[in-house]
């Protein structure tokens, strides 16, 4: 009985950590004037269909490095696409002269810094990496 109680306690301690890591939030600069975004708007911005924030400001989406698990999880949760499928998707648009992929940065820390410095920037980070000076406008839950 003691062992079972111990396992439940350990699970209770560890589970929130996993839950926190599994949620990805879309963030903007607090000065952007955006309160929240719908899933359709997030898809349109990150897939290069229509990069405009609700207030009329041009959206500058930011991707973290291709090797990052957050990026793979973001697109998997947003549009159910693997890294290879996203690469194929961008090949369609880039090589037909339509649009460019999001601006790429090496990690979540750089993405947050860019969002802090630009009211047009929009990025995604793991909720656990969130800082107080950016605004969450959409959340993807696993």
């Amino acid at each position: 009985m003691k062992r079972i109680t111990l396992m439940i306690l350990m699970f209770a301690l560890v589970a929130p950590v996993f839950a926190a890591e599994s949620n990805i939030v879309v963030i903007v600069n607090p000065q952007s004037g955006v309160e929240k975004l719908s899933k359709d708007e997030v898809i349109d911005i990150f897939l290069g269909r229509y990069r405009k924030l609700p207030g009329g400001r041009v959206a500058l989406p930011i991707d973290v490095a291709e090797s990052s698990s957050a990026r793979a999880r973001f697109y998997q949760m947003l549009v159910k696409k693997s890294s290879s499928e996203m690469s194929s998707y961008w090949a369609r648009l880039v090589f037909s002269g339509q649009t460019s992929p999001p601006f790429q940065v090496p990690d979540a820390k750089t993405a947050i810094e860019l969002v802090q410095s630009s009211p047009n920037a929009i990025a995604y980070v793991d909720r656990s990496a969130l800082t107080a000076d950016v605004k969450v406008v959409f959340e993807l839950k696993e």
Partner: protein, 383 residues
């Protein structure tokens, strides 16, 4: 925060094709001077390579230059500039382009050059095989706005286009044309629907004026009608396309109908359908497609007597029409294996039933119905 000022990217396909129809040369489209012969293994039909240079000049202005080398209508691999334009976008909703760019005839893949960007080994031969040019030297404007939960995009374009068609007798025809068109897309999450119109106007074809004059002077009513079409100052082809595509999660599907109708026997008049579906299972995406193209109008006769003196004229008029006909059906099965986010490997089998088609060269003395199986293995890459 700013995009990279200059970027250089590339793409390519190395694909080997073979088939089993003796006397037929299989090719990707009528813009290729040679095809793969039966029981041979050829690299020419689908292999190509391209480079693209992007210059991000200001926040609203950028430029693109793209060059591609592939087998052309002269039988050579001379690189060709496929895109060279400046894009001005004063607002995310409005984009203007000037220069050479492609126009919207592909629904799930906007460029047929980049094999990595689409599911099958090649764009459907039935649906796109008569299209030798999908670029225009001109200007376009597109406007995008939110409509309900989705997006609507309207685009108009106009300019000069060029075609190059390779004939079975080893000659090829090149023509310049005035092109205008428009397309309307509606996208909502994974679904995109499109309606597009296109009008292509050619000037008088000097090679056919002499034939037209002879036909006009023949006195036979049908012959006079055909002659009048050939000597007219312009000849027009009008195309229409309706399509819907789903690209969500592991499922990709598209259904397209298109036709192009011409006011002269020297132009194509074809109706085509394409249905394709693929489902990704981890790195593998098996797919199926069905397509058909059909000429609904019968071959027109000159009405001139079938006597030895007039046989060359009748033969030329007949061949002129056959060079633009494409009545055939295809069923294709294949699999795409994504080796990495930059490479894929594809295997595809096409089962084609040809009634009467200029898409492939028919070297048999007496062309007729043909069933053929085409096997292709290819690697696509981008960098």
């Amino acid at each position: 925060m700013r995009a990279e000022r200059f970027t250089l990217r590339g793409f390519g396909t190395i694909a080997i094709t073979t088939h089993d129809a003796d006397g037929i040369e299989y090719r990707r489209n009528v813009g290729q001077a040679a095809g793969v012969e039966a029981h041979d293994a050829g690299l020419d039909s689908d292999s190509l390579a391209g480079l693209q240079f992007n210059a991000h000049l200001t926040s609203t202005l950028d430029g693109v230059v793209q060059g591609v080398t592939r087998l052309n209508a002269e039988g050579e691999w001379t690189p060709r500039i496929t895109q060279a334009f400046l894009r001005y976008s004063p607002d995310e909703s409005l984009v203007f382009r000037g220069g050479r760019f492609g126009y919207d005839i592909y629904l799930l893949a906007e460029s047929r050059q980049v094999g990595y960007s689409y599911l099958a080994v090649r764009p459907s031969q039935d649906f796109y095989g008569l299209v030798t040019n999908d670029e225009v030297d001109g200007v376009d404007m597109s406007w995008t706005a939110r409509l309900g939960r989705g997006l609507v995009r309207a685009r108009v374009f106009g300019g000069r286009g060029s075609d190059a068609t390779a004939m079975a007798d080893g000659t090829h025809w090149e023509g310049r044309s005035d092109v205008i068109g428009m397309s309307l897309d509606y996208s909502l999450r994974a679904v995109t629907a499109r309606a597009a119109l296109l009008e292509v106007t050619y000037g008088k074809n000097a090679d056919l004026v002499g034939l037209g004059q002879v036909l006009l002077e023949s006195g036979a009513p049908d012959s006079i009608d055909i002659g009048a079409e050939l000597i007219r100052s312009t000849q027009t082809s009008r195309g229409m396309q309706l399509g819907i595509a789903y690209d969500g999660g592991p499922l990709q599907a598209q259904l397209l109908y298109g036709h192009i109708l011409s006011d002269s026997i020297a132009g194509p008049s074809v109706h085509a359908w394409l249905a394709q579906v693929g489902y990704r299972i981890q790195a593998w995406t098996p797919y199926l497609s069905f397509s058909t193209s059909r000429n609904r109008d019968p071959i027109r006769s000159t009405g001139l007597p079938d006597i030895p003196e007039l046989e060359p004229i009748n033969a030329v008029v007949d061949q002129l029409q056959r060079d633009m006909r494409a009545t055939q059906r295809s069923a294709s099965i294949g699999v795409r294996w994504d080796l990495s986010p930059r490479w894929d490997l594809k295997l595809q089998a096409d089962f084609i039933s040809i009634d009467e088609s200029a898409l492939n060269f028919d070297r048999r003395g007496t062309p007729g119905d043909t069933d053929m199986t085409v096997l292709t293995a290819g690697v696509d890459f981008v960098f």
